[in-house]
């Protein structure tokens, strides 16, 4: 029972990070119909910026704010300069561009920040709670991770549902042409979509780094599992991203806890294959296929 509780709580903590990453992928997919393979590298880069500040003496929270703002700027700049030329063209072009960006960012990070493993501080306690004489492997930091993801998601929901800007962004994502005819500056909406997605991606990069080691490829696991989570939930569905993220987090935690950590990658791969075979649009997508 105790092990079940521990494994579940750990899975939820990890799942929250995958959910955030999957949400970033979904935001970009919905607005530009592009899978951003560079999402993890962008998050890694902004986390390194935070680390540089923290090692220079700034607090974790300053590092967090800087990383999020840097994410915002990085997302906007990348959309405007690198992605805009390939939007609306053959999808393969966008795939190649984002993959190229992934490689370039990782290499740049290694050059600027070195490829040695560096430890990243956690803002809260990393020791588990003790209830009575039961040790629960759930930490204060995990609570912070889940809370941070929840807050960001609620902020995004509020933005999209209740603000005029959110309405215009949704309109631009659903129907570019009609939105143009209604005076919506679609280009700016796409840039903003990428900027917001990058903020969420930056957050996931920071959260997974806390209490762990950072090196240029440290986001690779999150990228893979976050991607599986997005596919599982349905690339079209923000809610699906959250459910997918939590599901993958829990699933991989159970596999690791009960079957052995060597099987985690296999479990992720098996999930991906199963989704693509049985319900390729994911659990929550609204359409099974896109008519072109």
């Amino acid at each position: 029972m105790q092990q079940f509780l521990n494994v579940t709580l750990t899975g939820l903590g990890q799942g929250a990070v995958y959910a955030a990453f999957a949400l970033a992928l979904v935001l970009i997919w919905r607005s530009t119909r592009i899978v951003n393979f560079a999402q993890g590298a962008m998050g890694m880069f902004t986390t390194y910026l935070a680390l540089t500040l923290i090692e220079a003496g700034q607090s974790y929270w300053v590092g967090l704010v800087v990383a999020l703002v840097a994410g915002l700027v990085l997302g906007a700049v990348i959309e405007r300069l690198v992605i805009r030329p390939v939007e609306g063209g053959p999808e393969l072009n966008a795939v190649i561009v984002t993959l190229g960006l992934f490689v370039a960012l990782q290499a740049l990070a290694a050059i600027l920040f070195g490829s040695t493993f560096r430890s990243f501080p956690a803002p809260f306690d990393l020791r588990g709670f003790t209830v009575g004489d039961v040790n629960i492997a759930f930490t204060a930091n995990s609570i912070y991770v889940i809370a941070a993801v929840v807050v960001v998601m609620l902020a995004l929901v509020a933005l999209f549902r209740f603000t005029d800007l959110g309405l215009q962004m949704r309109a631009a994502a659903f129907s570019q042409e009609v939105s143009r005819l209604l005076g919506v500056r679609v280009g700016r909406m796409l840039t903003l979509g990428w900027a917001l997605a990058a903020v969420v991606g930056s957050l996931s990069g920071l959260l997974i780094a806390g209490g762990s080691l950072v090196f240029p490829a440290y986001m690779d696991a999150v990228i893979v599992y976050g991607f599986v989570a997005a596919v599982l939930g349905g690339l079209d569905s923000p809610g699906g991203a959250v459910v997918g993220g939590l599901t993958i987090g829990l699933l991989l935690s159970y596999v690791s806890g009960y079957l052995g950590s060597e099987l985690v990658a296999l479990a992720a791969l098996a999930t991906l294959v199963a989704v693509l075979l049985v319900r390729p649009q994911g659990l929550f997508a609204s359409t099974a296929a896109r008519r072109v």
């Binding site: 005029d164 309405l167 215009q168 949704r170 309109a171 659903f174 129907s175 042409e177 009609v178 939105s179 143009r180 005819l181 209604l182 005076g183 919506v184 500056r185 679609v186």
Partner: protein
Amino acid sequence: MSTGSLEVRGLTTSYGAVVAVDEVDLVAEPGRITAVLGANGAGKTTLLRTISGLVRPSAGQVLLDGADLTRTRAEEIARAGIAHVPEGRGVITELTVEENLRLGALLGAARRRTEHGLAEVYEMFPPLAERRRQDAHVLSGGERQMLVIGRALLTGPSVLLLDEPSLGLAPRIVAQIFALLRGLVDAEGTTVLLVEQNARSALSIADAGIVLNLGRVVARDDAATLAADDALRHAYLGF
């Protein structure tokens, strides 16, 4: 709505090697409905899409009150006051009825033309009021037409471009919508360019019309004269 006179000079639009709009000249005056008629493939839709900026012309000019809008982006043309209700209506089905209307109202506010409000649109079109919080895809064809006309009104346009508003609608609904358009134009002096295959109905509310064939203007006159010209009607308008 403020008024604006729309002029098109020598407009030519091609899709690759196919010339869809061939040196079209057109003047649409405020307070008048100008019908654009012709068979399928005559270039009517392409003409509207060129005016509203969705498609670039290869030659010619589009002028609104003398200002050259020819190579401006579509969203800026909309902000200048040209409202285009496209072929297929352009309902954003993933949004609710109210959200669709709000998009129009946002543009109206940006243009500082808030003479029409949501409440007024709901009064004009009671079925929309009933379904205001429902996703727009539940609307019938006639209701969708009401939605996109209401949405266009909320933008406070000087010029209204309508692409086949009668398509797929029952004759009674078509009559209602056309009567509404005529009433609006008379009351507010909007400039309306009405593309229709249903030439008979269009000419019944229009002041003037042009007939396109293979992208070229083959006839240009006031509506009554066009409607009375039997040879023309048989050749190009199907009745």
